[in-house]
Symmetry: D2
């Protein structure tokens, strides 16, 4: 990457675009938990959100905007954290890139393969530092696993396994597949990124089975609440990802990698190191309630690393290409689940699916998010 | 089942047909760890095995045979434990059934769906008490899981997951797929039985990806050493089974069931309750070396239950139909892995696969064990 | 040990003296789970117990006795398992020894140091094979710990820790300290044996604090339901044992040994390898209900080893001296708890406690079991 | 507490007194991880430390001092974090108190009971907000345990257990008991605070056994490297603390509380949620290397809470009295270990120990830190 004006700045001026669930979390980190950056500005459509954020972070009202376009245009801004709804990622990232800002974008970059490609072309042309929010690479567990693999402790990776379970049936507004990309893209995209990262190879083919079992509220939206996805990698490795929305017992994220000489698990169901033992409950421990509790520190570290990269002129570790490959795989798996588990190659996703298949998808009366 | 002459006998005379790895283990249990039965006779082709077993169990030489046919014909025999090589299961079980003996047969009943059906016809016609050696149903962990599911603790089962990993690359003599049924049938048949039992439904479709990564010795035999198998059940549940031959760290058997209200794991990697902590090794514990250490007590209990069933005139809990369904699913998964992961319905296995598919299989220059 | 008439016998004739909770458990093992021995006879004061045991084990009525004296006198008997109430251990063991029988005696050998010494004199004079029921030495966990220590994995042992918690407040009939020896002798004697065995040294001094917190029913008997015991060993190691009667959540037995190079835990609270996860309960697993579930196999193995020793003319691994040292330490700790935590040397127990101390004990209006 | 000038300030000016191991850690938190405060100034005797800290935190050189007296006198300073060597705690805290600053002081407040009392008199007279660095109260594990106890989940607490093991033999400069207070005060003071906090009662008597087994370097200093401490509480509960310097496998901190209805563990040896499985190592996981990795977040939270308390005019949760009681108990246990395990009441520590005992202590040729 060529050196940029912000490179070497003692304090990066960061704007947060969209201060909802994720945006306010990132804003909190930028404001008081990150070195080398400060929360300079933010935008959000909701007045009560703007007011609360301004108060919490002592933000100058002149730098709190209703429209993201105004934030992007702000003088002195160096970088943005993009946390608007996913369907707006593309337009915001393009505008920020054209404006010369460094961009951190929440996952997924876009909901369709086509739009993702268009955005990446703009970003590449502009030479924009872009990082995708695959925060698991900054989690102490996943990072340690990667390190052990690179040290050769398990030999050549041969099988990747992963589970991502959310602890509640989402309301339709939240889980509408035309907004979320559907179950697999919404919940498993982190597993997909981990699969590529930990196996050290590229997925060539997937096949998936999906089902709607519990969350009736999203049935009419045409989404599923359970899926299992088989994967084949270009280096001969295999994989399986399972995802589910209704793990009411807690947020359950676990992965494992088996290799030619050993294996490893990354797993944590325990929220604290406390075990409670009672006559009624046997031995019990709390389960991590949700993603902020499980990955809070990883969310902080990924933004710290983004800030460090921008200030030091290094390329971010998680690139737009990582974002593209993940959405291609997610699209292929979503499509496979729609057509009864038929294997779908990533190549065929890149080539565009044949009309017959497309008809199946459209015939179901619902958009398949990413094809 | 109609009452039989052996029903109510104080001590069942049991013969062990084939005293190899499994046969000698069952013989040990029958001889000194089972009540209501005694080790009455055995047969084995190898003179040194016969001699060793006779000495260990104080067996009358007149009841130790070279040929299984002679054992079957023995006066006073009530039941047999069939532990000859799998390709001989069919002929031995049929003969024992015709002779009026109760039969406990190691898994799988036969290597092909067709032969399994033929055997079951004979068994049914003769009214033979027949139990298949799916010993996990008698393991304290799996049995407790079943109990918790029946109590409604996890609601309606929605996802079944299972891992079966063997700790060594087998020599070709042992893992020849024409003898073993291939990786999936050989190692995952217990997972398949657990899938049906714990989900409480029938598998309707599977798709599998397989690979040969480490065990080069079996490459020329056309077998694989890794597989992942997706499953769909008639009640809407999904599943995935993973199996691998080269988990050199130990014998690793784990399962989990997710339901509409909760989930459960059945997992034990720990061979003893001992944790060792050293500067070099962090915290370490031994892993179960192999199946006798993990399921030893379950192997004893399954034979005890068989003996109890025969003596009390109850039908065994694990029937010939369980054996048939397991081999059908195993055959479908093996076939799917051969044809690039294409979904295969159990119905199509029952109907016989189309000629085109058959050509694919035969064209690979190797018999696909169970189709 | 000189060779005895029973040495080399194919099948040892074993009599069980007292068929209560422990006696019936041992009888079951001798009858159907032990090789080289058979359940030849038994005695019990209660007619319904005698009847039930005779029926369960197909015992000839002529070998089922009301009085233990008659069992001891039985022709053809080779060995006895002594499971009468502890206060009778001494008289039965002496009689069996004089009669020339091999003796397996449940722990503790006797309730007082003095009587233990008298019994051992008789046993030694007669050359009786005597084994004390410290079954933890045969538990796979504790045995593995010993093996790792002997292999030098943790260096020189420096600290021994142990917890023994019973899951219920006992009724006075069962926990009367004049019958049980009091909390420490009753529940911690196995920890005391493990301390000596795993540290590989002898306890020289103990100090103990005790309290009555929950089990009011035994308050009037002068016993306690909680204790912590510090220990000092002749090789410089330290130790602590904790014991409690009211761990209503389950039977909780754990130990650990820290050494100069590492450490190890022996711990198992999990009754099965099943984890249950629910919205109400977090992650839960069952706790071992009681001692038969935790140590059942160790109870079988200790009797198997006793039988093997007797048949092969080897000295049993756990000697009368082990029984004596354990009761000396238990007596010292019980005494320390009575006198406010004052350190008590084992030497002083051997020398007899001074009159002043004795007054303290007697003055409390209750017998201190083992002094 | 009466309102103070700093109460309500948006940003507290905090000075760090002594920027060694602990001071630099706290300075990092104050500088970039704490809200409502800023790192305003610091002092340290070593020029290279001052230079490094100034550079790292962009500190104005005019607010970086060699002498703590100059820091204390600085205009605009609101509060200090006292992290000089323990023997200087008293003089610094008194000076800061007299100067009207709020004070956060690392544990232990002072090494002797007498000096601790003197300091507390000054602090009380001045109405100084004073918080002692017992950071475990802010650890998610210990805090959750406290919460469960307050909810009545385990009934009335009856036994407290705790282990604190350091992972290396310290050099004499670091572990000199005249500087550190000796093994028990240095390593177990957190366990002592947890004992009082979780049991919800006061310790009345302790007895301790200590030994020097591995760390020869501190032998000549008269310190020990192993200890076990029994405790008796005023509400009838019992306890035991174990501490050791040579747990080379890692930093091992675990506690448990047993109650009348259940129990709980607080334990974490696992540094990450990663399990590694290899043929050589069985199942392994990393152990927490040291205190910053185990309690880093708790160290941050305790200072955050101190800042919040000062700004909001609330009294800090951990008072000078907590510091005094901990040092009294630590002194009693240290003394008991010196005199062969004799029980020592906290009352006797308060009253001053008799001359005879004092002679024992002095006669050993070394100061007993806290008596």
């Amino acid at each position: 990457m060529s050196s940029s004006p912000v490179q070497g700045k003692a304090l990066l001026n960061v704007g947060v675009v969209g201060a909802g669930r994720m945006g306010s979390f990132h804003a909190h980190h930028v404001a008081s938990r990150i070195s080398g950056a400060r929360l300079y500005a933010l935008s959000d459509a909701k007045p009560e959100v703007r007011e609360a954020m301004a108060r919490e972070h002592n933000l100058d009202p002149s730098r709190v905007f209703e429209k993201w376009e105004d934030l992007i245009a702000l003088e002195g801004l160096d970088a943005v954290v993009v946390t608007v709804p996913t369907r707006l990622h593309g337009v915001v990232v393009r505008a920020a890139s054209d404006r010369g800002l460094a961009v951190f974008c929440e996952k997924p970059l876009c909901l369709t393969v086509a739009e993702t490609r268009e955005v990446l072309e703009v970003v590449e042309k502009n030479g924009t530092p872009l990082q995708i929010g695959f925060m698991r690479r900054f989690d102490s567990g996943y990072a340690r696993a990667k390190e052990l693999i690179l040290q050769g402790k398990i030999g050549e990776p041969t099988i990747f396994k992963s589970i991502s379970r959310d602890p509640f049936c989402p309301p339709p507004a939240f889980a509408d597949p035309s907004q979320s990309g559907g179950l697999i893209v919404d919940l498993s995209i982190h597993d997909i990124d981990m699969a590529r990262w930990l196996i050290g190879g590229e997925v060539t083919q997937v096949s998936a089975e999906g089902a709607l079992r519990v969350c009736q509220a999203i049935k009419d939206l045409g989404d599923i609440d359970n899926a299992v996805v088989n994967m084949r990698f270009d280096n001969g490795a295999l994989g399986n990802i399972e995802t589910c929305r209704h793990a009411f017992y807690g947020y359950d994220i676990r992965s494992e990698v088996l290799g030619s000489k050993g294996g490893l698990h990354i797993g944590v169901l325990r929220h604290t190191p406390v075990l409670l033992m009672t006559q009624e409950g046997g031995v019990q421990h709390d389960v991590t309630p949700y993603f902020k509790e499980r990955f809070g520190e990883a969310y902080r570290r990924e933004v710290q690393d983004f800030v460090d990269c921008v200030r030091e002129g290094r390329a971010p570790a998680i690139t737009g290409r990582d974002g593209l490959l993940a959405i291609e795989i997610g699209a292929a798996a979503t499509y496979s689940a729609r057509v009864g588990g038929r294997p779908v190659t990533i190549e065929s996703i890149r080539a565009g699916l044949p009309a017959a298949d497309d008809a199946v998808v459209q015939g179901a009366g619902r958009p398949i998010a990413s094809v």
